[in-house]
Each structure stands twice: as C-alpha cells, then as structure tokens.
Amino acid sequence: MTHRIARTAIAASLALAGLIAAPTAAHACGGGWWPEDEVDHRIQGVANAEKQLDDGHYAAAAGSIIRMIPYIKNYEGTSKDPIARRALRVLAVATARTGGQLALKRELPQYLRDTWMGADAGEQQTNLKWAVATLTKAAEEKKDDVVLEGDLALAMARTDGFKAEGRKRLEALAKKDLLTSPEAYAELAKLRAADGDGNGRTAALERCKAMADETAICRVQG
C-alpha cells in the first residue's frame, strides 16, 4: 500500500516536472530556447498599402490588404484595432476609385477574390455599397478628414441610392478646391456632362488630367 502511494507520488512529481520544464511558445534550437517574438507585420504592410494607394496603384494596395487580412469584410475586431481600420479604409477607397472593379487577377489567388473584381454591375454595386458603408463609418470616427470625405463622396456618387448625395458632396468640395483624387474629378465631369454643363465638365476634366498619372481615367463621354 505504502509502495503504491510512493509510486503514485513519484509519477505525479515527474509529470509535474515535465510540464514545468516543457517550453511553451519557444523554439528549440541546438539545446537553447528563447521566447517567441510576436511581430505585427500588418503595421508595415498597411503603411505600404497606403503609399500604394496614394501613388494610384489601387489593385496593388487592395491586394496586399486582402492577403494580410483575407476576411477583412467580416472582421469584427476593426472597431478596436486601428491597423485594421486603416486597412479597411485603404480597401474601401481603392474600391470606390475603381468603381467596384479592382483588377486583382495578378494580386490574389482565386479563392481570395470574393466579389472584389466586380465581374458584373451587381457585384460592382455590392462592392460600392460596402465601400460607402465602410467610409461612412470611418468618417464618423475621424471628423474633418477631407481626403476621406472626398472618397466617400466619390463612392456615393457611384452607388445606387446615394448618387444625389454624392454629387452634392463632390460639388461642395470641388468649389473649395479640396478634391484630392483625379477619379473624383472624373466622376464630377461625368455627372456635369450628363446635366449638359459643358464648361463644368471641361473644368473638372482639366483638374483630373493634371492630377492623374494615367489620363485614361479622365475619359468622359459627352
């Protein structure tokens, strides 16, 4: 009986010692170990995506965000995660500026593309509605950010159900010379042309062409 108790105690002690000695988050390498560093690579990744966005490389910016946070559309932690908020904004702006048609074929594998490439008008509107919702929330969180306001106005002007409000906002910013993207001026030119405002169209197109690397985005019918 005593021996059984002693054997049990020894077994329990060895098991406990084993548990204590076993490294938790560690690398074993040549007999040494050290705690694993946690590096949030998204910080540099989002900064790079923001730079790509500002340089007008929308597919590259959006692609890198989706590769880093594949299910960002359904990520619930964004309200508490400033990096995720910035990532969302990059993706929403890129979506708005490309009219919901991100050219991601070379950026992402098939399974990550979701509806981002906007294969038809329905998908494009789905993407744009998501962009409007995302940028509206961002604008509520960050007041007085004109770049954000301009992108939200652009997204609205391209989205069913928001077009009148988007136009109004684009006009207000253009009047103060505060539109910050050539796409916004191109959209304004399109809307003005549709209203028969030839001079307004020309003025907006001139700003678009001056701001754009690729003046192809400034082609407007009418």
Binding site: P82, D144, G150, D177, L178, T180, S181, A210, M211
Partner: protein, 425 residues
C-alpha cells in the same frame, strides 16, 4: 576646433591676466533711476538706469505659458517645465540623430545631413541672472536673429503683449540676481576693441555695426560656436553689470554656457564691456524685402515628385506630419504645438497637400487659395519667411518654415511653377 583656438589664446594670456593692472571692477553707487535704456550707452551707464518701463506680468501665468507654448521643446534650462520626450524635443532628437542613438541605423547618415546644423539651441538656464526684462518682452513679441551662425531662430509665437509680459516675468524670476552697478567712466573702449581680437572673442562672436575686427568668426553652423550671439545686441539684452560679470565669469551667470571663462584682468574685462556697450553702431543694413506677389514660374514642367523632394519632403512634413503614424502627433503645423492651434495641414503626400487646412474662420480651405497679392497661400507662407528674416512681417501670414532659414527663392519658383502647371502628380 574653433573653440580650441580661443582656449589656447586664453591659456597664453593667463599670466597677463593674473598680473592685471586693476584690483577689481570699479563700481559706483546707483545713479538716479531713468526710465529708458540707451541704445548706445554712455560710458557712465549703470544698471539702475535700466529700470524696467514695461509693467511686470504674472509669473505664475508665465510658467503656465512656458508649457502651453512648449518652450522646453527647444530650450533646455527650464527645470520646472513639463518634460518633453526626446522624439518631440527638437534639439534632443537632433542630437540623438547626430550621436547615432536611434535604432534605425540605416537612416542615421541620411538624417545627420539634415539635422547637423539644427542640434544647438541656447539654454534658458538662470535667465533671471542675465536678461533685461524689457528686452525679453520685446523679443518675445518680435523675435529677431541674434545668432548669425545658428540655423534656427526663435519662432514668432502667437502671443499677446500681456502674455509676453507674463512669460518674461517668469523667465526673469528664474534664479534672479540684481546686476552690480558699474561705471565705464574710466574704461578704455579702444583697448577693449583690441582685446576682442587678442583674447579670441571674435573667433566665435560677430560684432556687426562696428569697423571690422581683425579676426572674424568661422563659418561653422553647428556646435557651441554657432550659439555665439552678435555682440551688437548685448547692450539691449544685458545690463552693464551683467555684461561685465558675463565677460569675467560666464559660468557664474549660466553654468551650462559654452562660453569659456577668459583669463582677464578686471580692467581688461571692463575695457571689453565698455567697448561692447558704448561702441558707435552703424545702422543695420536695410533689409531687402521680398515681394509678396507670385514669383514668375519657370519655363518647364514641374511634377509633385520634384516639389516633394526639394521642398515638402525636406522640411515641411516635419511639422505637418501624419498623426496616424506618430501616436496622434502630427506636429505643430497639423495637430498643434508651440501654442499654435491645430490647423490640420498635412504635407506628407499628394492627396494630403490637396486636402487643405483650417483657416482663421475654422473652415477648411485650399492651400492653393489665392490671397491678397494673388499669391497662393502655400507660396505666400514661404515668401513671408523671407520678409520675417528681413525684419518685416505680416500678422495674417505665418512665415514658413517656422524658425528655420527661408526656402531659397529658386525653390519657391519651383513650387509656383508646379501650381501654375495645374499641380501635376
């Protein structure tokens, strides 16, 4: 190296100093107080003739203003001021770059080139022992360049005269001391002039407005030598007794001063002080004022990349930064600082430059909006800095870059050309 020459000269003159002709500085009883200090003092100027004409302010309010205007972000010697982390402290950050103290080793070489001439700012230690109150009030209201070799100058703060009095009252309360009453009646200013050369003073100090001295300061823009003020301003800043004490034993007034203690006899010190205080000064050269009308654009296309490389990315983005990547601090020109309200102007990217700034009415406006002279605001701010340096300023436009040398005119033309071209990317 430049400090070593005066130091060697000083050592060589130690013996002479020890056997000086006088036994001490001649002091006189106070004369009747006078309301004004002379621009060019008479040889018998005494401290008591410098009684302040400016009403005193409230030192407690002044102490609060030191924090509000973030004086400690540039100046050392303010022990009671709020502690500023090194990343937000202009000079400490620049000194850390120069010492290779940041972790981003690959950037050090690039950063050093930009900040090596921006690593020295005069300390305000024991200001109460040194500065005349009236001068401080005037200087705070309208700062001017006192140190011709220093790249920085004091920024024009957004102060009322009452606030300037409060600040000056606080500063003169730091380690205060009454300057001794002195007379230069029996001093020999001509000998003092000669001593400026002989003792090596002019190896560091410029003395504008007097006939050229034999030795002229070098052109070093960094290090303690760069802090040496133009001696022209000494009579405005310091009471005669303070000047004499400063020449005799500068560390007794300001322990952290880089000014060496000179091996001077009392008579020699007095002769030098007399010359500095009484030498006839020719008027400062009339400033060449820059016109505020827009400069003529260049006859070529200019892109944003060129403007960013030569102007915006070189200087402006330091104070007009991106708060998202700097723990919420976008710099004084964006999220506020140095007592300036936030104007939300970020100059870090093409789109941000186009996003404008908050105007005086609180409404956002384009930085390309044309002002009174038909000049875009962004260009007007750069031109205004030229005018500030020349002694003229427009209270409606803050000269930029703040407290730094003006952007060269050819670069301002470059910016104007980019704007005239339609601001191409």
């Amino acid at each position: 190296m430049q400090l070593r020459l005066p130091a060697a000269l000083l050592i060589a003159f130690v013996a002479a100093a020890c056997s000086g002709r006088g036994e001490g500085t001649e002091t006189t009883p106070s004369a009747a107080p006078s309301a004004s200090a002379p621009a060019a003092a008479t040889p018998s100027t005494t401290a008591s003739t410098l009684a302040a004409s400016e009403p005193r302010g409230d030192a407690d309010k002044g102490k609060a203003l030191v924090d509000q205007y973030e004086c400690g972000r540039c100046h050392d010697g303010l022990a009671e001021a709020k502690a500023i982390p090194v990343e937000s402290h202009c000079t400490h950050c620049h000194q850390k770059v120069m010492n290779g103290g940041f972790d981003h080793k690959p950037d050090h070489a690039k950063w050093k080139e930009n900040v090596e001439h921006l690593a020295d700012v005069p300390s305000l230690q024991s200001a109460g022992k040194r500065f005349r109150y009236d001068w401080l009030v005037d200087f705070l209201m309208k700062p001017r360049d006192l140190r011709p070799h220093l790249a920085y100058s004091m920024p024009a703060l957004d102060l009322t005269r009452e606030q300037a009095r409060d600040l000056a009252t606080y500063l003169v309360s730091l380690d205060p001391a009454e300057p001794p009453n002195v007379s230069f009646a029996s001093a020999d200013p001509r000998h003092g002039r000669q001593l400026l050369d002989e003792k090596g003073c002019t190896g560091c100090h410029t003395f504008s407005g007097v006939p050229a001295l034999n030795i002229q300061p070098g052109t070093a823009k960094a290090g303690p030598t760069a802090l040496a003020p133009d001696l022209r301003h000494a009579r405005e800043r310091l009471a005669p007794g303070t000047l004499l004490t400063w020449i005799t034993d500068p560390q007794s007034l300001k322990p952290d001063t880089p000014m060496p203690k000179l091996p001077l006899s009392a008579d020699e010190a007095r002769d030098i002080a007399a010359y500095i205080y009484t030498a006839e000064l020719s008027p400062a050269p009339a400033p060449t004022l820059v016109a505020m009308s827009p400069p003529e654009p260049l006859d070529r296309k200019v892109t944003y990349e060129e403007v960013e490389t030569k102007i915006l990315g070189k200087t402006c983005r330091h104070c007009h930064g991106n708060p998202d990547v700097a723990v919420g601090d976008g710099g004084p020109g964006n999220t506020g600082g140095f007592g300036y309200q936030p104007i939300k102007l970020e100059l870090t990217s093409y789109s941000r430059v186009h996003a404008g700034m908050l105007g005086s009415d609180g409404e956002r406006q384009s930085v390309f909006k044309k002002g009174e002279h038909g000049t875009p605001h962004l260009v007007a701010a750069l031109l205004e800095r030229h005018r500030e340096v020349a002694g003229e300023d427009d209270p409606d436009v803050r000269g930029m870059p703040l407290a730094l040398p003006p952007v060269p005119m050819e670069d301002i033309r470059l910016l104007m050309t980019w704007i005239a071209n339609g601001r191409p990317r």
